[in-house]
Symmetry: C2
Subunit: 253 residues, 2 copies
DNA sequence: CTTTCCTGTCTTGTATGCAAGATAGCCACA
DNA sequence: TGTGGCTATCTTGCATACAAGACAGGAAAG
């Protein structure tokens, strides 16, 4: 979003810029996406921005409030639960359907987990957020099924938005451990176990959410009043000062 | 598509009309969807038609060939395999995640299976096509998870398009039996078994496809030349004469 | 001081106009 | 007869203009 874009960007670029902004937690839920501003930023007319918005809307990532504007979705508690449920269903189903972990696949996951470790050691939270979500997409990529990858990518984006709204604590190490355990089960060829671990892992993350403090009507009211989203509480300020939108670290897997 | 539409239809209506046309096998893969024609049919400008097309494109139901037109997708053999794989993953994962079959849920499925039986007895193929696909959506609805329902609806639409392209034989009774067995396992509370049966059922249907006769490059070439898709062979003409687009019955679940 | 209403401004919703690529048909020419 | 190229026409791509609702701020009335 705050990138300076030279003009002549294609539609896909608008869409993917916003999605990757969400995947790396640079764009918060409830962010207003003005057609005019985006058109200026990308050097195109409103028409193309609108097309990108409509695509993102069908992907469940933005929504439009008629004649008021486009907003990054702020999933309700019920929607949050549905997203995690959908992820458990799909990711566990996917792992159960796997039969082998190829050498390249194992290597790719190993590289990824090392990247997670590096980002944790470096305290690079933005990258960590991205990597924590990306792990699950990497697993989907192992299946070679582009349909499932796309579905999980969108669900991951929503998951990150949910984390930004409802997550009170951050246990990067716990999530990383969960990923490692899933990987180990896969290496051992025990995909049923990997599926179970995946469900447990998602349960853990979901348990770390506080789905009661932010009832939906309040959230709607707040955005109607154009107030900034309430800061996530109880995360003492250790955030990167150059990114004042980033309210504490996010556990994203 | 051949409905006469009085004007002032909303965007959603364009989208849903096309999707439901596919779900009931009234619209064939490769069908050209002219912006101008649809605009006239629905009494709106091209703008809104384009928006509907873009939404359908992100749902994987239509695609655009630049400056040539919009077309209902003709999934390649590889894509067909991916769709069935995705359905196995999601539907089996969904069934495995279920814990109870409520009374209403059981009743809804029972009603549905009776509708299937009725349509089979009546030889109402269009309705049967719709019902065979709808069974799986009904199961998703039992979970109460709107995300999964939406995903499976779109995959079902693609499945029907695949059937129209590649299916050589029609075993409605076999599919119906598969549905019944899944239902029985669910009633018995054995959801792991239901998941396995669901995978077997989808395997059966996929096996009934002939994914070799229609290699992708040929299909692309054909549509480039604006030739009509090759009729599905070996289905002796028992189709309803009032719908000459309907090339034999379709097994859709 | 409070409330109501009005108006200016900003937003998206929708239609339309024009540009540019793709295609088909025809004609000239070998 | 076959071939190359031109043109007319049809398609989508994209920008723009205008309509109409939502909102904020201020003025006026109580």
């Amino acid at each position: 979003m705050q990138d300076s874009h030279t003009s002549e960007s294609t539609q896909k670029t608008i869409e993917e810029t916003i999605v990757s902004g969400i995947l790396s937690a640079k764009i918060r839920p409830g962010t207003r996406l003005s057609e005019n501003q985006l058109a200026t930023l990308f050097g195109v007319s409103r028409t193309r921005v609108r097309e990108a918005m409509m695509r993102l809307e069908t992907r469940g990532i933005v929504h439009v409030s008629p004649r008021r504007g486009w907003f990054v979705v702020e999933p309700s508690a019920e929607e949050a639960i549905a997203v995690y449920e959908a992820r458990r269903v799909i990711e566990a189903g996917l792992l159960r359907s796997m039969r082998v972990l190829t050498d390249e696949g194992g290597k790719a996951l190993d590289v990824h987990l090392n990247e997670e470790k590096t980002a944790m050691a470096a305290g690079d939270r933005q990258r960590l957020t991205y990597l924590m979500g990306d792990f699950h997409i990497r697993i989907a990529e192992l299946s070679g099924n582009a349909i499932i990858v796309d579905i999980l990518r969108d669900l991951t984006a929503r998951t990150i938005l949910i984390s930004m709204l409802y997550q009170s604590e951050f246990h990067a190490a716990q999530s990383h451990d969960g990923h490692c355990r899933i990987f180990e089960a896969m290496q051992a060829g025990d995909f049923a176990r990997a599926a179970e671990l995946s469900i447990e892992h998602l349960d853990e993350v979901e348990m770390g959410l506080d789905l009661t403090t932010r009832p939906d009507p309040l959230s709607e009211l707040r955005s109607s009043l154009s107030l900034p989203p309430k800061a996530v509480p109880s995360v003492s300020q250790l955030s990167d000062p150059k990114n004042h939108n980033f309210k504490g670290a996010i556990k994203t897997c």
